[in-house]
Amino acid sequence: MEITIRDAVTVVHGMGFGALLLLGFSGAFIGLYAMSYSTNPWRPAAAERRLFNLYLAGLALLAWLAVFAGAYLIYPWYRAHPPAGAVDLTGFPQRLLMSSPTTIGWHDIGMEWKEHIAWFAPICLTALAYLVWRYGADLGRIKGLRTALFGLALLAFAATGVAGFFGAMLNKYAPVRGGHEIVLMKAQSHD
C-alpha cells in the first residue's frame, strides 16, 4: 500500500486542513449562537472564553494553512505543463481535464472558482476570530456586529464548502499524483 508524496500533500491539504475546518464550523456556530443569540446567553468564564478564542483562531489558522498549501504546494503540480507531444497526461492534471469536453468544466469552473473563493475563508475567519476576541460577551448586545459576525461565519463556511467540493471532484477526475513513493503498509494477497 503506497502513496506518492503529491498524494500525501493533497491529503494533508484536503483532509487534514480542509475537512477539519469544515467540521470545526459546527462548534463555531454553536458557540457564537450561544454567546450572542440565545435568550439566555452563554456567559463564559475567563478560561472558557480563552478556549473559545483559541478555537476560533485555530479555525482561521487551518484556513490559512489550507489556502497556502493549496496555492503554493499543490497548484504548481496541478498546472504543470507537459513536454511538447506528450500523450500521457496523467502527471499533468490541468491539461488532462482540458483535453476532454466532458471534463474541461471541472477546470474552467471548478478550479478557476476554487482557487479564488477559497481565500474568502481565512480572511473572514480571521475577522471573526478578532471580533469575538475583541468584543466577547458584548457581541450579544451590539446587534449590527452580531449580524456581521454570522455573515462572516456563513460566508467562510460557504467558501470552504465550494473549495472542498471542487477539490474532491477535481481529485477524482485528475488526481495530483507523482514524486517519491511512501510505503504505508506491506500486505499479502488473500484469496
Binding site: E112, W119, R134, G144
Partner: protein, 111 residues
C-alpha cells in the same frame, strides 16, 4: 460594569468587517483583471509556479490588512451605523463572489 459595556465603541468591529469585505472584493477585481488582461496577468505573476494567483492573493491580503489597520486607527473610538457598514460589506462580498465566479467573469468579458 454596565456603564463600561455601554461605552464600548463598535468602530474597531466595523473596521474589521468592512476591511474583510474590501479584501474579498479586491481579490475578485484582481482575479477578473488577471483573467481579462494579459499584461496584468504578467504583473500579478510574482511566483511563476503558482502564476497570477500568487499576485492576486498577495495583493488582496496586503490591501485587506492595510485597510484594516487604517480603518481601525480612524474608527478606534467611534460608534458607527452598523446597518450602513453591513450593507456596504454585503455589497462588496457579493461583488467579490460574483467576480470570482468564472461564468460571471466570462459574461463581463463577452466570452
Amino acid at each position: 460594569m454596565t456603564d463600561k459595556q455601554q461605552t464600548i465603541p463598535n468602530g474597531p468591529g466595523a473596521a474589521t468587517v468592512l476591511a474583510a469585505a474590501i479584501g474579498c472584493f479586491v481579490l475578485g477585481v484582481l482575479a477578473l483583471a488577471g483573467d481579462a488582461v494579459p499584461s496584468i496577468a504578467r504583473l500579478l505573476n510574482i511566483w511563476n509556479p503558482t502564476g497570477p494567483l500568487s499576485g492576486v492573493t498577495a495583493a488582496a491580503i496586503v490591501i485587506w490588512l492595510g485597510t484594516w489597520a487604517i480603518l481601525s486607527r480612524l474608527w478606534a473610538r467611534r460608534d458607527l451605523s452598523m446597518a450602513a457598514i453591513n450593507l456596504s460589506a454585503l455589497l462588496l462580498f457579493v461583488g467579490g463572489l460574483l467576480l470570482t465566479f468564472p461564468p460571471f467573469m466570462d459574461l463581463l468579458q463577452g466570452k
